[in-house]
Amino acid sequence: MPVAPHYDVAHATAAIIAILALLSGLSLLLVKQVHEQVRVYAVQSVFAAGYTLLVGIDRVDAALIVLAVWTALIKVIVIPVSIDRAVTRQVSEHEVPLVVQVPMSLLIGVTLAGLAYWSGSALPIHGALLPMPALGMPLSLVLVGFFFMITRQNVISQIVGLLTLENGVFLATVAIAPGLPFAIGFLLLLDLLPAVVFYGVFARLIAARAKTTNIEDMAVLRG
């Protein structure tokens, strides 16, 4: 007689966080306003920090708990606030031109998530607290982040897409390699900060020239 898998509060909470993180990724595809996209990213990062905290508590791993707090500080507060202050207040136009419209974007996003779960199931790996396939949700965020970057012609949107992709990689790290030395996790987050600062510098330069952060006209270089 098959034995039912054991699920406790931690597993159930992790599953809920995974679903919410995936939904936050997909909901990015629904919003056209730059400010709202940055806020959705902040919410998504709450789930990333929450999942890290949960795994840290479950494994009684102080390093993961510190990483969760650090993640919350950097990704939920510092990065969204600095992006918001650096660029979005400089420009009057905040609606992002879309290469693919919202309904089709959502359809493609859901398909990509399905693809991620399907390909994740081919990998023989258990995730910390997550239901199988462990890599389904992180890979979904990676693919949705890519798709978002490609189809939103705005520098801030592209930064948000990149950060979503990075959140997917971060969640994959916590899910399948929670023992990856704390120093590396810390370094990666630390590395994200100057990167975001440099993205900000670029975005400001572009905004200062064109008075918009939209980049649909930025296609001089070809061939």
Binding site: V155, L162, L165, A177, L187, F202, L205, A219, L221
Partner: protein
Amino acid sequence: MAVWLLIMLALPLAAAAAGVVLGDRPAMGWLSVASAVASFAAALVVVFGYDAVRGRHALGSVFFLDGLSGVFLIAVAFVYAVVAVYSAGYLLPGIGHIRLRRWYWPLLNLFGLALLVTPVMANLGVLWVAVELTTVVSALLVTSEGSDESLEAGWKYIVIGSAGLAVGLLGIVLIYAAGVPSLGDHYTPTYTTLVHAGPHLNGTLVRTGFAFVLVGFGTKVGLVPMHAWLPDAHSEGPSPISAMLSGALLAAALYAVLRFGAIAQVAVGPSYVHVLLLVFGALSLVVAALFTLRQTNYKRLLAYSSIEHMGIVSLGIGIGGPIAAYGAFFHVLVHAAAKTLAFFGAGEVLSRYETRDAEEVRGVIRVAPFAGVMVLLGALAITGVPPFGIFRSELLIVTGGFSQSRYALAGLLIVFANVAFVGVYQVFHRMVLSPGEATAGDRTHVGRPEQPLMAVAMVISLIVVLVLGLWIPSPLNRLLHGAATVIGGRL
């Protein structure tokens, strides 16, 4: 060895810090030149003075050097040194058109530091951080001419490069996870740890992880089809930065791919790694060679040539066997020297004619004979004409292909290396030797006297690519054999 490694890394760091204070004062140029040249000397001592071929850790297990890291360390240290010399001349008034002068030296030295760190770090996570740092720093350098085009190129570069590296990081995580069953939850992901555990690593995760690493870091290498950023960044950045990107950055990213390839080779056998490298290498060679036929922007042309050469190196490793691998690693070194020469020559032309359009540049040999000769020799060197080093390395790879009975791949290399020769040489031939008046630039700039530092940098690159075509010193020969042993096979 640790002391020399620390000196090698401390010098560019100190120069970058000094640059923040001194800005673009002339003293800063000399300081950077001294720092970069001394770093190169320290790299030579580290690689050849301590028998790095045998594979050695230093400073506990912070640093690791073997034949593979030795080859790439020499290449990036050399490029950093000659680029610093060239830049000291290029930044003088009336020569290079750089607006972001205040931050040029700090960023260049930080770029040099990140490139030097990459091949010597034992921890593969830190290796990723170093490569990511190169993106952040070099993207700003790409925009330092301040034009709209350079801004667009820099933006494309940082977004595509960062996205690629995020994928590469996912690959590292998967390879780390492959070691958890045998090494435990908490282990430090160094190369030696993973290679020793190689046969016990989870094969499916290693295969998937290496594929992600190849696509992720391959984006920085400029392998087709992840190359979209490269022609823009190389063509719109200042010429010394283009040389640094082409000769050193692509090599450093390729080093990361090969380091993980060496791990995957132990875990799942060499054929999987070879096939992936062959596919991306052959695709890059063919596509880039064809694109050279339709370029009129001479810097963009050199950028496609860089993609072609990274394809050749990948193809050389992918063919398998010691001869092709030896040739591929030798190609990394001679490409570094030849491409710096070619981009330095392109910088000479750009500073005189103030256009990137080859159709507007004619008769360089008449108005600036030294520059004209250097530009032409750079084009010949980069297209693999004998007796330059690239001819020798390509011949080795072709020989390796025949020795492994990979006749089609050897044939592919012969055909498309020649296509690239036609594409690159015809443009530079017209620019330098064709009669006719230039339609761009004013006569003052076109006929300006040679800048000694820029000339010295070009002559050094020329001597290196020429001498290596005729003679490989025995310590270098041993180093190349050592690199081929890490990923390729023993002779």
